[in-house]
Amino acid sequence: MVTHEEILKIANLAKLSVTPEELDSLTEDMNKIIGFADTINAASSDKSTDFDNINGLSNVLREDSAELSYSRDDILKNAEDSEDGYFVVRRRR
């Protein structure tokens, strides 16, 4: 069973806030979902398959040379707030 405390701890790790009103139903949902995830425990795990990546790919590295990328102005276009080429986070709002 997952407790209220565990849900709050996990939510904090995930940077989500949970209101007291949401906590009961969320804990109930998460218990169902984790109970469902627990069904993998019935599978035998006597051998590890060493699963690494899906197509057995290995890294391909390019030459370490400078290339043009997006401009700073473009990158900042979607920001809530920016100043002098920086993202801005106001201390309080």
Binding site: V2, E6, I7, I10, A11, L13, A14, K15, L16, S17, V18, L26, D29, M30, K32, I33, I34, G35, F36, A37, D38, T39, I40, N41, A43, S45, S48, T49, D50, F51, N53, I54, N55, L57, N59, V60, R62, Y70, D74, I75, K77, N78, A79, E80, F87, V89, R92, R93
Partner: protein
Amino acid sequence: MGKYGKIAQLQEMLSSGEISCTELTKKYLSVIGKENGALNAYINVTADAALKTAAEVDKDIAAGKELAPLEGIPMALKDNISTKGMETTCCSKILGGYVPIYDATVWSVLKNQKAVLLGKTNMDEFAMGSSCETSCHGGAKNPHNLKRVAGGSSGGAASAVSGNLAAYALGSDTGGSIRQPASFCGAVGFKPTYGTVSRYGLIAYASSFDQIGPIASSVEDAARVYDVISVYDKMDSTSSGQKEPVLPALENDIRGKKIGIVKEYFDGVRSDVKEALLKAADVFHSLGAETVEFSMPSIHYSLPVYYILACAEASSNLGRYDGIRYGYQTEHYTSRNEMICKTRSEGFGAEVKRRILLGTYVLSSGYYDAYYKKAQDLRGAIVQAFDGAFSKCDVILAPTVPMTAFPENYAAKDPVETYQTDICTVPVNIAGLPAVSVPCGFGSDGMPVGMQILGPKFSESTVLNFANMYESAARETSFKDTGMGVSL
């Protein structure tokens, strides 16, 4: 080519001068104006850009230029595919107002061909859902019955194609999100081998599962689109591209080929859906293919394995939404931590939060080995089970979904109950295989039933060949035009 290819037919009309691309585009925009209100397939219609491209296509035709394979064809993109200068939101409040500064590779490839983009289609928020109803715009409706869902997560794409509001659409498939809505809406949905179509610019849900593919109104059309978009891309570290075009293989003889029927795929499948699948198997017998039955017990674990791994990847991928660099930011806060937590809690919907929490839980200290590590081991076992299966047969035939389209407001029920409807689609994503969903008849409720044909990695020409041979033999009894949208 075959007689059901809508794209070839439209291109013939364009190059013969029967209709101009501008007229064709206006025709689509006009029916979208009339019918999208009921279907909710598009969440953003890009009329100006569409007409601008159409005018360029008309210039090419006037100049006597040969049309590129998808040039001038009106189409749609799922809203998780980045379009430079056009809002892309994954149907989430947290990406409200986000306008990408670059194109997804699939879109830049299509744009270079002068594909006519009609708009962005509705989807479950961040592609997390099976009904399209977790979208912040409400769900897309099913053109076969407006009281039923279009499915998910690419519900808007399937609804647009089935309602003839686009000639084809691109969706994405992480656990069935192309095939399931295609099945519900009576369209063809193709999820290619992982890596064959670039994911660059596809907003990430679960990176080792996500794959872009087409939803179309015939197998030929799906193959035509796939041949164009399956290019190697250095911007995607998992890109492999495609070796050979699939279109020339569509009419290959399938006599003597073996179709696997896997017992576990039929467990819990509704009887009318099972019946439609058995009839489809008979069509394959009449085409000279053989069926072989066998068992794959590890399929039983594919659902929890999928949800553990996909949510783990999602919890990491969605960590980027902090309200600072793009998208929604909360109004009031007193600290940076509070700003981020409030932004995320207000910006994400309930299903996305549940999946982030599950993903964070299975990756957290003390639980990693029991869930994430174990699920990765089982993923490897499922890959091996498919390798074994394809030593016995060329392709596997399975239902796409154990039932037909759900009634609307389905997402309101128990989350686990919804997850369980993905049982037939997730195994393919776990193993990175190609699979196509093709309409194969109707359920007792009159709604379309879809069957899946799946094959080993990089066997797209084989699975589409089987699908096309079936369609050629049984289109009359398996497909139904919805009578909506543009009629040719």
